[in-house]
């Protein structure tokens, strides 16, 4: 049985490909791209919320936010590890992000201007991420699927925490309430765009679905997300900024207005409000940390040489 046959069988059985299994180069490449983009999104995603750690308005919120941003770094670690099992070293992925070649979720190129944005990011952005990611827990590539299981568990906490931030605000003072509504107004559109362009404009999706990486189309997931957040926003006592939003009895789903795809493609092209700043922040952290990483490598070499010497001495004796 050839590797290719076995691969096709595994896919047909909807079971899992593991690192040592044969896989088509295109499958490998496509996965590396997707997993590393996902990892990069976690890394860049630390910035907008990280901005608010120092200013969180209560110590409890500060602790929750710090833990959340820390989780994002952790997710980045899982995902880079999963991608590494496909033969791409982490350094290469860092370099791609550094050089601006790699993509990450556009949503993180929007600023988090107010504390309510931290809530909106948790509720809407992490919410959209979960809708996207739950099906990925069954992705055909084993390490990716397993990483997603861990990540999804944490993301659902994050979404809940975001919702709670908004709930406190929407039940607080008039100013807090307005802050919450404004944040939802700002993040609603970009959050819906996190599922990617409309199905007609998304050529890679087909192949991804055939390989059991993706399970649903962009538009299917987007619909699922809208259906999920409408009752949640009602529970918050806030509204979504879409006058066309309404329940469609026939479809059994909410109808919603077309999104601003011009903005979406502009942001993808690097003209988001903070596209340059996010990358610069990442680069300067890398640059400033270079001497530390070099020292760690030098020290590790030194220690292993000493161990070798000790061992040689032991054997010689």
């Amino acid at each position: 049985e050839s590797g290719e046959q076995r691969f096709d069988e595994i896919i047909a059985d909807d079971s899992r490909i593991e690192p040592r299994d044969w896989m088509p180069e295109s499958y490998r490449k496509s996965l590396v791209r997707q997993v590393s983009q996902h990892a990069h999104s976690e890394i860049i995603g630390m910035q907008p919320e990280g901005n608010w750690i120092s200013r969180a308005p209560s110590l409890k919120r500060k602790a929750i936010l710090m833990a959340k941003v820390q989780d994002e770094a952790g997710h980045g670690l899982y995902l880079y590890s999963a991608a590494e099992t496909l033969g791409t070293p982490r350094e290469d992925m860092y370099d791609q992000l550094y050089s601006g070649k790699a993509k990450y979720s556009s949503i993180f190129n929007y600023p988090a201007r107010t504390w309510a944005d931290v809530g909106a990011i948790g509720w809407l952005v992490d919410g959209a991420a979960i809708v996207n990611q739950v099906p990925l827990c069954r992705a055909s590539y084993g390490p990716y699927g397993r990483a997603m299981v861990r990540i999804c568990k944490e993301e659902s906490f994050h979404q809940r925490q975001g919702w709670e931030i908004l709930y406190s605000l929407s039940h607080g003072t008039q100013e807090q309430r307005e802050m919450a509504q404004a944040a939802v107004d700002r993040f609603y559109g970009p959050a819906l765009q996190m599922f990617g362009p409309p199905d007609g404009d998304s050529p890679n999706s087909q192949q991804s679905m055939a390989w059991n990486i993706k399970r649903f189309t962009n538009d299917e997931l987007r619909q699922r997300f809208v259906d999920m957040i409408v009752p949640q926003v009602e529970a918050l006592g806030l509204t979504l900024p879409d006058p066309e939003l309404k329940w469609n009895e026939e479809r059994g789903h909410y109808d919603f207005a077309e999104l601003d795809w011009d903005e979406f493609f502009a942001v993808i092209k690097g003209n988001g409000p903070l596209s340059r700043q996010r990358l610069e922040h990442y680069r300067s952290a890398r640059d400033e940390g270079a001497w530390v990483r070099e020292a760690a490598v030098a020290y590790a070499n030194r220690v292993s040489q000493e161990q070798d010497r000790d061992q040689a001495a032991l054997i010689g004796a």
Binding site: I43, M46, Q47, G50, I53, S54, R55, A56, P57, S58, L59, K60, R61, K62, A63, M66, A67, V69, Q70, A73, G74, G76, L77, Y80, W115, I165, S168, L169, G172, T173, E175, Q176, H281, S284, A285, E288, G289, A290, W291, V292, R293, E294, A295, A296, V297, A298, Y299, R302
Partner: protein, 245 residues
């Protein structure tokens, strides 16, 4: 009682300020693993601060947030060491080394406090500080014995904060009058310094030769940085007095 509460403030303010400083590393660390590690330490310290401020607040009917967000600059009792700027990673690690070693010596005695709450807080914190000191000491070794540049930077980090070491061991009031409730800072001096010297020497670095910077009383003679730290930390809470979050 009042004196115990004021003691808890001293411990809590140190933890709060250092946590605030470390939080600024998140997304800026030299390695992704360090983003996780530094956030972890910051989170531990914030946890200690919350216990301690909450406990202190019971004496005055105040919450942790009242104390963190609505005290003025001159009312905090943190030492100057924890308020120093992050600087580069070497300076941050130098600050971590000193503070975590001090805190370890402190908490490992405070577990025997006759105040049950302080003893319990210390016991919980001690396990975490164990990791903090290990983290710092490992990095001091790596940087001290790594490259020429890292050794230079680690040394200059130590030089940069060393003049604030002595303040940690000053028996400021009301500690002396608290007896077995508290741990006398001066009693920690020798063991902490011995352990610090050991690590610094193991890392091929030099113990800075300098006496303490003037003005070591944890009140009214704080660092120039404190005002900047609080301006940022308190801005949102103060914009909405009385709000809940």
């Amino acid at each position: 009682d009042e004196a115990t509460a004021r003691y808890a403030l001293i411990l809590g303010d140190d933890a709060l300020m250092l946590s605030q400083r470390l939080g600024a590393w998140v997304s800026r660390a030299p390695e992704l693993e360090e983003d996780v590690a530094l956030a972890n330490i910051a989170l531990d310290l914030l946890g200690h601060a919350r216990f301690l401020l909450t406990y202190a607040g019971t004496a005055w009917g105040k919450s942790e947030d009242d104390l963190a967000y609505f005290r003025e600059e001159e009312e905090f009792r943190s030492c100057r060491l924890v308020e120093q700027e992050n600087g580069d990673f070497g300076k941050t690690i130098a600050r971590q080394l000193i503070f975590s070693f001090y805190q370890h010596e402190l908490y490992s005695r405070l577990v025997d406090s006759t105040d049950a709450t302080l003893a319990a807080i210390a016991a919980k914190a001690l396990k975490e500080v164990d990791y903090h000191q290990d983290h710092a000491a490992q990095w001091v070794l790596r940087l001290g014995l790594g490259t020429e540049e890292s050794s230079r930077r680690m040394q200059s980090g130590l030089d940069s904060v060393w003049s604030y070491v002595e303040e940690l061991f000053t028996d400021v009031e009301p500690i002396a009058e608290l007896g077995d409730v508290a741990v006398l800072p001066s009693a920690l001096r020798e063991s902490t310094l011995n352990r610090l010297h050991q690590v610094i020497e193991d890392a091929g670095l030099g113990v800075p030769d300098m006496s303490g910077a003037h003005g070591a009383d944890r009140s009214g003679r704080h660092s120039e940085q404190r005002g900047f730290i609080l301006a940022e930390m308190q801005v949102l809470a103060r914009r909405h007095p009385g709000a809940t979050w």
